[in-house]
């Protein structure tokens, strides 16, 4: 595994391996000094074409806890518009002998293009409306820690699915791990086609609410009302917001997730955001953990796993009473 570009279509085993690896880093993060020398001498660059302080800090923290050097490269869209192509920018970074590039880009697919041009590892930290694989991993990890497993969990993803890379990655990761996903949104906020998506769809949050183990709220961008996708934020909140009233009708064991930053009062009522069942802060903490696992998986060593090379099956059976030769 050289790159982490997306989770769509990834096999369950790959996701589970990363989640299991995350357990080791959760132990590291629980220590008084949460740092190991695993990636000493490696350099991880964050290349953000779109501002996201939260995600960038999470990756940089993860890299530092693995003792990697970090380098932050923020590219304002204006300087790119001056004529430097995506490829130029990438090759410039590569010339600095980077081992991994963590890239955030407003254009879907940009990390795939970088991976074609570069020799180093590429980690997708969110591309356009397309994918946000480490968010999906941290969401899965959060749910796995809370429920033990995602198998059979009923998850409602509520809000602007159409423009959400989080939703796209989550749908495929959740279902690959055995959960059932229902998308809850007005038709205007759904992708134009859901052909091939392993989901159910509802326009009625109240009908889905009581039977959901997880309510995953997406951020509602204010611009959407100007694009006539919703008449007003007020109407959106009335139909799809997790209001106090709706929160009371959640199942006892249900939890609430949100990729942050939250629009309190729009997709989530302020009081609901502070409930114990709202796992937003767990998600943030787990974000560092799973990103450590991803960095370690991609950057620790390059040859095949020696545990694969030296299989125990190469040994014969133990014979009792053998000589002490």
């Amino acid at each position: 595994m050289k790159h982490l570009l997306g989770v769509i279509g990834q096999p369950r085993a790959m996701l589970e391996e990363l989640l299991q690896l995350s357990d080791s880093f959760a132990e590291v993060n629980a220590r008084a000094i949460p740092k190991v020398p695993a990636l000493r001498g490696r350099t991880v660059a964050t290349l953000f074409f779109e501002d996201s302080t939260r995600t960038r800090l999470s990756f940089e923290t993860a890299a530092k806890r693995l003792s990697a050097d970090t380098l932050s490269f923020s590219v304002s869209s204006s300087s790119v518009k001056k004529g430097e192509t995506l490829r130029d920018t990438a090759l410039t970074l590569q010339a600095m002998r980077i081992d991994a590039i963590v890239v955030r880009h407003a254009s879907s697919g940009a990390p795939w293009q970088l991976a074609r041009w570069l020799d180093c590892s590429v980690i997708n930290a969110g591309d356009g409306w397309h994918e946000h694989p480490t968010q999906a991993l941290l969401d899965c990890y959060t749910l796995r820690r809370h429920f033990g497993s995602l198998d059979g969990l009923r998850i409602a993803i509520v809000g602007d699915i159409k423009h959400s890379r989080v939703a796209r990655s989550d749908v495929w990761a959740f279902t690959a791990l055995g959960a059932e996903v229902t998308l809850v949104a007005p038709r205007t906020l759904l992708p134009p086609s859901l052909e091939g998506w392993p989901v159910q769809v509802s326009e009625d949050l109240d009908r889905v609410l009581g039977s959901s183990d997880v309510v995953y709220l997406l951020r509602m961008q204010r611009e959407r009302q100007h694009e006539a996708l919703v008449p007003s934020l007020r109407e959106y909140t009335a139909r799809f917001g997790l209001t106090r009233d709706r929160a009371e009708r959640l199942a006892d064991r249900a939890v609430v997730l949100h990729p942050g930053p939250m629009n309190r009062g729009v997709e989530i009522a302020p009081e609901v955001a502070d409930l114990d069942r709202c796992l937003v802060l767990d998600q943030v903490a787990n974000g560092v953990t799973v990103r450590m696992a991803v960095l370690y998986k991609l950057l620790a060593g390059s040859a095949a796993d020696p545990h694969d090379a030296v299989g125990d099956e190469a040994w014969g059976p133990i014979r009792s009473g053998g000589s002490d030769g």
Binding site: R87, S107, Q113, G128, E131, P191, S193
Partner: protein, 442 residues
Amino acid sequence: MADLHTFVLKGASVLDASGRRSADVLVRDGFVAAVGEGLDAPRVLDAAGCIITPGLVDLNAGLGEPGAEEAETVHSAARAAALGGYTTIVGRADTDPVVDSAASVRELRALAEGAACRVLPSASITVGARGERLTPMAELAALGVRLFADDGVGIHDARLLRRAFEYAAGLGVVICQFAQEPSLAAGGHLHEGPWSARLGIGGIPAEAEEVVVMRDLALARLTGAQLHFRTLSTAASLAMVHSARRRGLPVTAEVAMANLLLVDEDCAGFDPATKFRPPLRSAEDRRALVGRLAAGELDAVVSAHTPHSVQDKEVPFDEAAPGASMLQWTLALGLSELTLGEGGPQANAVGLAELIGALSWKPASILHGTVPAGTALTYGVIESGAAADLAVIDPTATWILDPAAGASRSRTTPFAGRSLRGRVRHTIVGGEPMVLDGVAQR
């Protein structure tokens, strides 16, 4: 020297609008002098096993010049075209500046002097293709401009389009519409459907094209003007055009080769080379387009050649400029991917005559009025007295598409590395071999 202008193409079969037959073709002083068995001349061009067809005619070729000479010039485009079997290409007016005045038409004519094939200008419908004032169409028509188009933009104001139709109808020129409703296509870079949804890229619905086709057919009926649709891409668009023509409307439509070969799923790797305008459509749309071609119902297949410099495609998919370098490869791609090969049966295979017709004599007939006055050219039939604009195609030659080996300055293509079957051996333009044994002579 006169001998150089007399030669015979030997050993081929002739395929034209009248059918296919085994014959040699004698060319003298720019015209076909004789067609028949056992012709001879001191100069013989070997055409053994080849097919001689009327030269290909492209109604939709981006020239790059003026404005983007680093990506293409008139001469490099013409050389690529000649190597691709074209004897006439019509340059799109979407250059920088736009071809919208007598001066810019004359400039293009001057640039085309000495090019490897005939390069004819088209002009925009409105000044600067800004959709405000009409260009001096009568003056431009007098300079030989036959096709008018606001390429890549289209005319959205229905009243303005009506006026353009009415004004053009009296001049015997053709209004070409680029059919895409901008408000429905806004923010789109890919056919709207399962793949745009999956890839998280804004979609351009088929209906963005179809609503324009629907409206413009009504306006064409209202005005009686000749209407030609640029690069239609959906099954429903072509069905509407087809039924309008059966009702007697003077309407034609072209389809870009890329839309006959590729579909939206081909964009799944986010390779900007697969970005086209109109977008690559669904597999069903592609099947319908190929079906129309096979049934002889397409008026023209165009290259929609769009030169780009490399950096135009080294950006993310949604920022990349649409289109590809096509002139040199269009015929070979069509022969390889659409017609029945030696390899056996193939679903929806297109007949050779249908493919060549849509690349040659059918677009030529749309362009018919651009023949310079005083010449007695007939299009589509290779017979004594016809202009010697000929393509000699070796249908069995196999080769690999290598953009770096192409004559075009622009090398962006999603087809790099494809195995091709069928290659142009000679291209004769006005009786002069511009391509001999696959080598451009200019």
